[in-house]
Symmetry: C2
Subunit: 361 residues, 2 copies
């Protein structure tokens, strides 16, 4: 049985490449995780996600506990089997979604009680319950239950929130049932305050998680403040464990974060943008709805291996997206996820070659 | 270069199997054509449509002339290339859609002037223009431009409409530019009046089309009257040419029509039903939204080779359709199109074995 472990392969300045070994396969880092919120990466078959080069996807505790329910998925054999994705899955703990999506939420030391955004039913998410749900889902990587500190936050607010996250981290770690090849990541908070980030890291490092996430970024602070935080935060974390920046981001955000020592990312941008008709290309973003493409016989990118670029013109994609055909969402998503995985591969190659990530995306 | 020709292989009572040879490949009959109205079979990649066993799909003159435009598709290399479907395509002439979808339409001897249902722009469809558009699309099988007689129609109304269709058939045939491996089908009308159907057939047979469609059925007359018409109408057509029943239908309609001598079918039912959560199975139709499936670990059908049945439980399909995920539309459509192609294969096997189509679907 494969142990959960992380091998650091190459370092160039602060950038790193590595391999994260898990029960469900290897993850090449820096890694981008497509988001599969409700048990599906939107508009994609899992084999299509696989074909883009993704080693791992992300699922959401909050959404899946409400629909179809974690016990149900457990009874059906777990999330991997349910959605036919045998490779690694990381699950959000629900800490972020419960704050951004649910109604009538109430935070206490115990956890968060909230009303479902779907049917108003009452639920509790706590470190113990979130960890249990992720166990029921069979998540390869379980995230600790945290309070995502909103931005802006005063020092006092950020301190109090970070301390709650630390206490919840201790309880999450205690609730985690370790199985060979599975792991749990802690989440450091502290907003934009270096001393709070350091305290948060100190608290969580004691718990010896298998990896660490930097939470509370990409929540409205902007790229400049995010990068300023990333200038010091990754160094607070163990060198021999994966570092995950949650909810990031655009290609330039990812490149900037890798340059500062981050290993893992997730974001809805490639999938959501694709469904909205926006394509990422090496020459910048393209709004395929633009009428300039209606007679364009060229593919989005000649050297892209995705299904959209191999077989279809921009004129066809323009037509599909304009009339609202599902195939438009499928092909645009496929392209964007391929673009992101190609970006990560290029980043890994640059680091292995000892080159700065000085290319523009 | 392959000639457009039809080989009758087996006959059992009035049922027939055959192969229609075309420029773009062979079509095994009886054949079901998935509908690809706007240059895509909804929710399906063309390679997925191919994997269901479909030999031919249908496209729509009316929709494609409005969006993205026939000249545009011609300039982009034709419909096959545009939508990445190298196998045969049959295109509706637009006669039916212009009556059911467009606004402010005016019928004259010349043709039909109408306002687009999309942007209100004025257009003309005539036998010459419809035939030209289908040439621009590169349709493997071009349909003659007809007036689809609505139901109910008095004898006089049906006679007048049928005669117009005959005159338009003559003009459509004259406008057809024959290319090796391509063909054109005439459409007989006459509503539920045997003498009018006979007259229509006599008129159109003189034009020596490569195949014939029976139009004006499945327009509200019900299965009983449709079958009564099919009890005599196919025999009015040449035995050595394919017979196409337009817009049909449910499995029982198809079986009943094959039993009466029909070779080709098209219908939106499998695709539309799939997107709405209805699955066809050997044990009847299944509404996957029904809560009885929320914990059902079984596939829709164990012996179905489709992607949905090979890899997913009914519980997962229930979840996807219930929350409105695109993958639900993809998998349900895939299953239904596979079901239809498996039905056609079973029908062909029964005929080849000299067996009545006495199975229930």
């Amino acid at each position: 049985m494969q142990k959960f472990s992380f091998d650091l392969l190459h370092q160039h300045k602060k950038s790193r490449t590595g391999i994260l070994y898990t029960r469900h396969g290897q993850i090449r880092t820096p890694a981008f995780m497509p988001v599969g919120t409700r048990g599906t990466v939107k508009a994609m078959l899992p084999e299509s996600v696989d074909s883009t080069g993704a080693d791992i996807i992300l699922g959401n505790t909050y959404h899946l506990m409400l629909q179809p329910g974690a016990e149900r998925i457990a009874n059906l054999g777990g999330l991997h089997k349910f959605m036919n994705w045998p490779k690694p899955i990381l699950t959000d703990s629900g800490g972020f979604q419960v704050m951004s999506l649910s109604k009538l939420r109430k935070i206490s030391e115990e956890g968060v009680t909230f009303s479902s955004h779907i049917d108003g039913s009452k639920h509790l998410l706590s470190p113990e319950r979130s960890t249990e749900i992720q166990y029921q889902l069979g998540s390869t990587i379980t995230m600790a239950f945290d309070e995502c500190t909103s931005y802006p936050a005063t020092f006092e607010q950020a301190k109090s929130s970070m301390e709650l996250t630390s206490r919840w981290g201790t309880r999450s770690r205690k609730a985690f049932i370790n199985r060979e090849g599975y792991g749990q990541f802690g989440i450091i908070q502290g907003s934009i305050y270096p001393e709070l980030r350091a305290l948060s890291a100190t608290n969580l490092l004691e718990l010896d998680f298998e990896g660490y996430a930097i939470g509370g970024l990409a929540v409205g602070e902007g790229q400049k403040l995010m990068f300023e935080t990333l200038d010091y935060a990754p160094a607070l974390l163990p060198i021999n464990k994966p570092r995950y920046l949650m909810g990031v981001g655009k290609p330039a955000d990812i490149i900037g974060a890798v340059t500062r020592g981050v290993d893992m990312f997730d974001c809805v941008i490639p999938t959501r943008s694709g469904r909205n008709g926006q394509a990422f290309t090496k020459y910048g973003t393209v709004n395929i709805r633009n009428s300039q493409f209606k007679d364009d016989a060229e593919p989005l990118e000649y050297d892209c291996p995705c299904a959209a670029c191999k077989n279809y013109s921009k004129a066809y994609l323009h037509h599909l997206v304009k009339v609202g055909e599902i195939l438009g969402s499928i092909l645009m998503t496929w392209h964007n996820l391929t673009y992101y995985q190609e970006l990560m591969a290029r980043i890994r190659n640059y680091i292995e070659d000892g080159k700065d990530l000085d290319f523009l995306y």
